[in-house]
Point group: D4
Chain length 213, copies 8
């Protein structure tokens, strides 16, 4: 009735449909997961609040909830981890929810992940301390709010693809993440591409495709 | 005086500094190229108008000009081409300048390129005819103006990283490419990341990094 | 006092005044409906929350409430259904409230309706499965949030008028539906016209006028 | 090479591909028309400047140019005119270019057209003088710039579908037509749908679909 | 301490300082009123919620609260009413809060007021029924949300100054009243000036100045 | 054909139709003036470039051109000047074109005018020197670009209606006059209403209505 | 784990890291403060709600809370006050929270502060009464919402650096402080620089640097 | 007539009025300079094109023109240079015009200046090479376009006041400098204040005030 689960997505895109919970009722999410459970796939549900998780938990106690990242994962089959890793770097402590969404997504998609958090440009030496681990990644995700300058700085220091995620951290003219997004789109460093504000899921999905090449 | 060429960039980023000609005088561009020629690198100058090219040509007749893409290239050393290719797909004939900027960039960075142009969603069968060649690429660049829907459609059909380039093609509420950019950032297909409006160079630079992995 | 019901609207526009509940007190809505009941017309009240419905129900137990679509309908006279139908197509499960507002509106205006939901471009084969039923309609309503690309894709495949409704589904740069609106206004497919964000009512009203031609 | 003419569009959409000349070189437009002439279809090219027309004229002296509407038409086969007509109503003299684009489009698509110009709300009696002819149409196009209020006023007075075209006439906060567009999208009159700023072509295309029902 | 009441304002501007309650604590408002009571002026406090009123009532039981208009008035001295009146015209029932703010302001400033509500352009005959009373005013205030077209229509029909107040009534692209504001600023009717969104107070203040000339 | 001159406007609004030349061809303006000359009214044409004036001059050598204000006036009948005057105050030298448009409009509408220019807030004593003449007016027009603060300052010092005109003077974030407009709409001084950016004509028209009360 | 306190910041910037509480959990703030207490620095935490303060108070009863300014300060070592003072001037009572944030910041950074509040341009004589104290400062902070004109007026009257802070006080087109920000950026008075909306902290930090020169 | 030169500005602000040439006719600029020459002050005219300079040169051959910075200076009296210097740092070669406007302004205001250009974050080592000279300044101006990240990076490394100037260098979503402006306003480094886009003059004026403390 209300949903047409895209069963062929794994064939076409290499991964089954991901459930975007915002704007769906708890009942709708539960019914979609119920159906997908019968397909024996791993399941990923983003933007899930606690109520949704509790309802899902009732039909599937294997469901795991990352509260900060508001993400539900259900592993029904083993995924082989990549040898290469994705580096997920963030500017400040307030960006952690997006880091968590990205990490949970990358991991269920079978990627090894290295997290380097709170290394924003206000104290740039913190970044230089971690440069080797960032340079060792096959692809780098940079998560930053406010003015988002971290993406440019890292972009100028590495030779790997960089996916930038602006976050809604900030106030006033940060315009809910728009400023960080614009910064990242206009970076004078090359090799940076950008996803929607707070879209840790999308960044990890793209990075996973690259990491699996 | 007026410029500090970044000689270590090739070491750090895998490629020497690229010259962005907009906002520079012809004399400034010529002096920068003169200096870089002494370093024996391949040279790439974007957003170059015809006057700039003619002045560059005088000091370096090997300089090649792609008029539609407004890009000057000078090859001073051989680059080995990749076995994999980048697919560069565009929606309409009016998007060609950006396609050309991306192609010239990708090629001087040592990539094999397949161009598939004028396959926008108004006549979607044109896209389906070319799906195999798109799916065969290691990474796909999608160039589209107006509403930019082509990125979403292709993103839903492939399992490779996709870099979307919005173009300034359109009028009225296309807002000089902003609408296409927003479309691409909000795609319901996963695995899409985005660069600045008309930034064929940046898309190709990112794609090249991925294609060389 | 506070309202001047437009009694001649049915003569002028073919349908009596519709009540927009947002920004009105429950008491105001009840008094307007009380007055209109005396005119023996069918009554339509949009953007009605549950409290409003309950107060209306007390004075008129025939009132029907579509909770998802936040719409109250009261049928006081029979309407002959059209032979032709309006197809209402939507991209994702989260767009359902707007689909419901459009459907309830179209039906009380006397139209046969076919709903085709959750066929967004991330899994485009779902759309192709339903193309015959869409092509069979006299007029098509397309409801989509996020990047709104579904309107362009359908617009390129049919030869009937298409009314596109952007929804506020999405986050970040979806800007509460603005991105989907812009996409639809800039469609490279011809024959698409657009209504305000989340305006399922307005799309159905226009479609009904066309379906009754 | 640079274009993939969509030959099946007439089958799919009921009308062959229309050429959008903006952003194409004169040579590209000429080559596209040369190819389409061999298909014996009627040809429509919008946003064509005088130079483009002159180049087209050289290969096809039957080509007709509407200078105000910047539109080239070539009739290769007879089209039967509809019995019903489309009313094209405009607010001021400065809106005429868009009126012309809409009229030329509607006519080559086989529609009878009635033009009612310069009846903006600053002198509303001019509109009331023409109300009968507007009410007699099967579908109405309203073209207005500045504040675009004419669409709402007419929408409140008729019972036919109305397609509103905002124009870029105005200055300052008219923002190149954005204000008129917003006015039209938020009309308190029902039954109005909207196309892009200055998109006389798109309005006529939609209206023609409706007029042919 | 926290406020410098502008005691000379009546001399300079013809009316004592008006208290804008938004962003002030209840205590601050009470202290300002306490001080102003000692000056024996009439007192006007706008944007006052119910809590504020109740606290004011405790120190001054003569205080009157207009709940819809969120405005507190205290009359300490008689004001002679003007012979001329201000017409306050509004488009819909949802605009009433702004109408009430304007009316309460105009009245305490000593003006006779005529209210004509719910005569928006969707049913324009309702306006024509009231045209004589509008034309009889010395100055006209027009209050409208959504697309705000009422201001243009009235502006084209009268020869008196018209002050337009856009309201935040609407949704989606009404952008909290911005669309109505833009409409009013771009009116093709002459003699219209505009105040901030929902600023019934400001419109009445200007109208009162004119009505007292 | 292309225009419907609104002959009853003088009856309805107290003044005949004013010609807005932008977006009209020289021929159209000439034809409209030719027709209006036969009506023996005074004629006002705004936004007229020099070419338009020269063509008008050929058919009517009495036509006067204010080059800075880009305005053509033709006096065919005497107008009695008001006893009261309108004060037109401006912030900087660069605002003069708008001052001229306002002055020419006010004068042909029969108003006495006092101009006080270049008294912006950067040197506020210049304003205080002129305060008496400003306070003596029946209505005040304030013309200012950049940040437009002059309107607030004057508004706080007078007890007469003030019409503020933002100008497009400035650069960067002045956004072509938008900043000055926003400043004026949000003035903490009461009694200010606002017209469109650079709309000297509209301000003078409103002021004239007030000055004639 | 979740945070990398920047211990060298005092050396580099002259002051230890300041905690921005928004977007951090209470636990995170407490842990950061716990760590910093061990360093014996003075501690400043901005945007702290009452819950956060109470949790901090439990581990450190010396913590002081400025409720209006939402700021926590902990003094662990004496700071010598400057001889010069910073003047903090504000337009209205509603701007006080930002004044408080600026004052608390300036004071813990070791500055003498003079506050002059509620002297907005609607009653400009209030400002002139305080001009001597403003002119006596080494650097001036101006805090204003609504149209923000106060910054320009003061800027034109002093010869000291002025840092302007736009506040989110206002409604409608004040756009949450954007209008005041734009006003301040476009001031025709020279010597004004601007910080983010409501950023009392940032203004005080800059002013402190200047005051310590 | 058309201008009121602010002769007391030097007394009030420490420097005579500066002429903003944009929007003034050549004749107006010449007349203003003619008048100011009689006052024996140093003269500064910004945004002056070559034609203006040539006309000024005719009446005053001592006038000096900085073509890149579009600025005219006339020295009529000696100014003592400060011992401290202002560092003016820029990101790229395309930012030079703004650097020149700032430098010429700072110098005629009596400041020693150190320029450090082309040290943008794409090659951050170039910045580190110059850090000592930047740290040695009394106040630092940072000029950057595109994403403007340089201001944040420098702000995190110094303990002196920093004035950031966004430039209009860039394309697409750089929005004529708006992105760089937003970046700078939202910097996570403290001690940064910002001026209007391309306002090298304003930054230098503020910096000069600080440098003279
Ligand atoms: N957090 C997220 N951000 C963006 N897209 C998402 C997110 N989570 C899921 N999606 C995608 O959004 C689509 C949701 O469509 P639907 O569930 O039909 O409304 C799915 O195809 C997912 O691939
Ligand atoms: N400078 C101006 N700014 C705004 N409106 C104007 C101006 N000049 C004339 N108008 C009005 O704009 C309308 C022009 O409509 P039209 O000439 O039919 O395109 C007339 O009704 C005038 O009252
Ligand atoms: N480049 C500039 N950017 C911003 N303000 C300027 C600039 N040049 C001069 N000004 C100021 O702008 C004002 C110009 O006012 P006016 O010359 O009367 O139009 C003067 O007071 C100057 O202080
Ligand atoms: N509803 C309102 N809208 C706009 N301005 C108002 C309103 N009510 C009062 N004011 C003005 O706002 C200012 C309030 O400043 P303050 O009380 O000092 O914050 C006063 O000068 C009033 O004239
Ligand atoms: Mg941190
Ligand atoms: Mg094509
Ligand atoms: Mg779905
Ligand atoms: Mg007209
Ligand atoms: Mg109503
Ligand atoms: Mg001046
Ligand atoms: Mg106050
Ligand atoms: Mg450089």
């Amino acid at each position: 009735g209300f949903a047409k689960i895209d069963n062929e997505r794994e064939l076409r895109n290499g991964y089954p449909e991901v459930i975007y919970c915002a704007g769906k009722t708890v009942e709708q999410v539960v019914k979609i997961i119920e159906f997908m459970l019968t397909k024996k796939n791993n399941i990923l549900a983003t933007r899930a609040d606690k109520d949704t998780y509790e309802a899902v938990y009732k039909i599937c106690p294997e469901a795991v909830y990352n509260e900060l990242g508001r993400i539900i994962t259900i592993r029904q089959k083993e995924t082989k981890l990549t040898d290469n890793y994705i580096a997920i770097v963030s500017a400040g402590t307030s960006d952690l929810p997006v880091v968590e969404e990205a990490t949970a997504t990358a991991e269920i998609l079978g990627n090894k992940v290295e997290k380097i958090v709170d290394v924003g440009v206000a104290g740039i030496h913190r970044l230089f301390d971690k440069l080797d681990i960032i340079r060792g990644a096959k692809v780098v995700i940079v998560v930053a709010g406010m003015e988002g300058a971290l993406a440019s700085v890292i972009g100028g220091l590495i030779d790997k693809p960089l996916i930038a995620v602006p976050t809604s951290v900030g106030y006033g003219t940060s315009f809910g993440g728009l400023t960080a997004l614009l910064t990242m789109l206009n970076s004078c460093a090359s090799g940076i591409s950008v996803v929607n504000i707070d879209n840790g899921f999308g960044a990890a999905y793209s990075a996973s495709m690259i990491n699996h090449l």
